[in-house]
Symmetry: C2
């Protein structure tokens, strides 16, 4: 019985190794049923932690803003919290979400489709802090460095990413210290992280300690080697990963089988619901396919420029096996593909979700 409703018959032909399992055991995904909540509970937001969660004492924490600036700035937590504050709902997703559905499978954190969350983030606009420091005119990028440190591909480094000046000055880019109305928990970057709405999560550097203005493009590992779209290993450096591609996911209807996570649904009317998001702003359209026949879902209210949007569709479920799919089209007119586009690092796989169910 449970064999009949295995979630994805097309995936998992290749077994997973211990490296992947260790990563899956550390990097916490959200749950598809958590798509119910407008705001993801703190403990249900996805987590991708490159190295270790560092221990940072909020009392002695300082943010240094330096490099190619007129007036280097150092801010403690109290000073940062005294700056003008804003709270916005922002959906974050790991750039590797969907990696484990690619074949052959790139070996890294083996996300299926659970690396998402939508939280209410509170902080101060980065722009104000940069204005205090005064970027010199020839500044090309800002480099953001976190307190987490380790080794990747033999390169020892602290996690660091850059943004162009233009991106960094967007009004919604913030230094955030609270999530869902409470101080950040350690795993979310306490005491302060960067938040880059619209971009995949790698840009929102956690445990932020340094911002450096530089005159040349940043060549750090996480910028130039990791987080690249490469069609083959010789395609270096590849295209940089930036904004989130459109994605829609549904709350799985019915009840699960413990081991296979296959779904059993009672025949009759079923309200299919889900969430959709994109780095190009609120999603305009979601379509749902029942056994390959696409229909438009009803779109729910817009929660914010950078937040996911709910949708729903009534389905009259008839006994038998069915495959449910959904796909989003964003404000830029981009629609999720029906099949994955393979790439070396397994980035940005936003192929439309497949959800087999057994109706009884």
């Amino acid at each position: 019985m449970t064999q009949d409703v295995a979630m994805r018959s097309e995936a998992g032909a290749e077994p997973f190794g211990l490296d992947e399992l260790r990563l899956a055991g550390r990097n916490r995904g959200s749950l598809p049923e958590a798509l119910r909540y407008d705001v993801t509970p703190v403990g249900l937001h996805y987590l991708l932690i490159h190295f270790d969660v560092p221990y940072v004492d909020p009392a002695s924490w300082r943010l240094s803003v330096g490099g190619n600036v007129e007036r280097p700035v150092e801010l403690g937590l109290d000073k940062l919290r005294a700056l003008p504050a804003a709270t916005i709902p922002v959906t974050l997703e790991c750039a590797g979400n969907g990696r484990a559905l690619l074949e052959p499978r790139p070996v890294s954190q083996p996300w299926l489709e659970e690396a998402f969350g939508n939280a209410e983030w509170t902080g101060t606009p980065l722009r104000g802090v940069l204005e205090r420091a005064g970027l010199r005119p020839d500044t090309a990028e800002l480099v953001f460095t976190g307190a987490d440190r380790g080794v990747q591909d033999g390169v020892a480094h602290s996690y660091a990413r850059s943004l162009t000046v233009q991106e960094a000055l967007r009004e919604e880019v913030m230094l955030v210290y609270a999530m869902n109305g409470r101080p950040l928990e350690p795993q979310h970057g306490a005491p302060v992280r960067l938040l880059v709405p619209g971009w995949y999560g790698m840009a929102s550097v956690k445990w932020l300690t340094d911002i450096e203005a530089v005159t040349e493009p940043f060549d750090g590992y996480q910028q130039q080697i990791a987080y690249r779209y490469q069609d083959d290993p010789d395609d270096t450096p590849g295209e940089p990963v930036s904004r989130m591609r459109p994605r829609s996911l549904m709350v799985p209807p019915g009840v699960p089988d413990f081991q296979t996570r296959g779904r059993f649904v009672s025949a009759g009317p079923v309200e299919l619901t889900g969430r959709a998001w994109s780095g190009a702003g609120p999603v305009q359209r979601v379509e749902v396919a029942i056994d390959g026949r696409w229909q438009d879902a009803t779109m729910h209210e817009v929660l914010g420029d950078y937040a996911w949007r709910g949708w729903s569709l009534r389905w009259d479920a008839t006994p038998g096996r069915h495959e449910l799919r959904c796909r989003a089209t964003d404000a830029a007119g981009e629609t999720q593909p029906l099949e994955p586009h393979w790439n070396v690092q397994g980035m940005g796989n936003n192929a439309a979700q497949r959800l087999p169910v057994l109706v009884e």
Copy 2:
């Protein structure tokens, strides 16, 4: 370089399947570096969710206490919160923690050693609620049923577990509605869960809706089939899983490799720290082995009768590869074994941790 410090050369000979990966992607482990905190942040506590997190409306939630009682009781959340309250630190661990280190590996949630957490739980003693209902003298057990429902081994059921009257009346067994000073998040059993200090987590039924007094031992799936120690598949029903066996885990020193999670440690003095716990009360002794030579660690203060206890040991790290281990001895005199004891369901594997490190 990264190959040199793979965490456990003895594990993972058998690849993992998609069922196991799906479970690992759902069931969130803690992080070994979270052993630093006396109280585990909500979002870093382990989670084992048998089926789906159910949606329970706190306003309409009711707890029914019935069956073999004098006066059936129904309580809403406000009434429950008005009863005498207590807050205690309690360490919880999944009974399957360590399963993925067994060979051959039982197929279920593939925990390595991350299924732990220590939280401050607030609620009201179960005993008071049972006294209101009045257990009849021939009551054998109390059956606790949650709102989560699904199929396991072909058996459709709501998650349910029982306790004997004697266990249920222990003063520290509680109906809890807050964790670390805040209302439970959905994934931790909101609005109310059972808490059975000292036992593995399966006893602490989440999303609790019904308590039923019964005169015969409960024969539900999660009581009679799952959570059993069986030396071979014919050993039915096996021994029930109950209290936590002693375990000690360390905060991994140094910094990690991203993919293998191997550790790089700088030569010189290193403060090794960790936590130890047991269902038999505060752990009395922790020993640490550096390359097989055991020494006693310094035990830190006792945080509570059912909470983990910190320990530390100074190590003068010398260049080269080393294997670190630790083991706890509890108040009942039980010591962690050095090698796993295999069993069919992969329950209670508390073999002493192994942590290879490379000192540079």
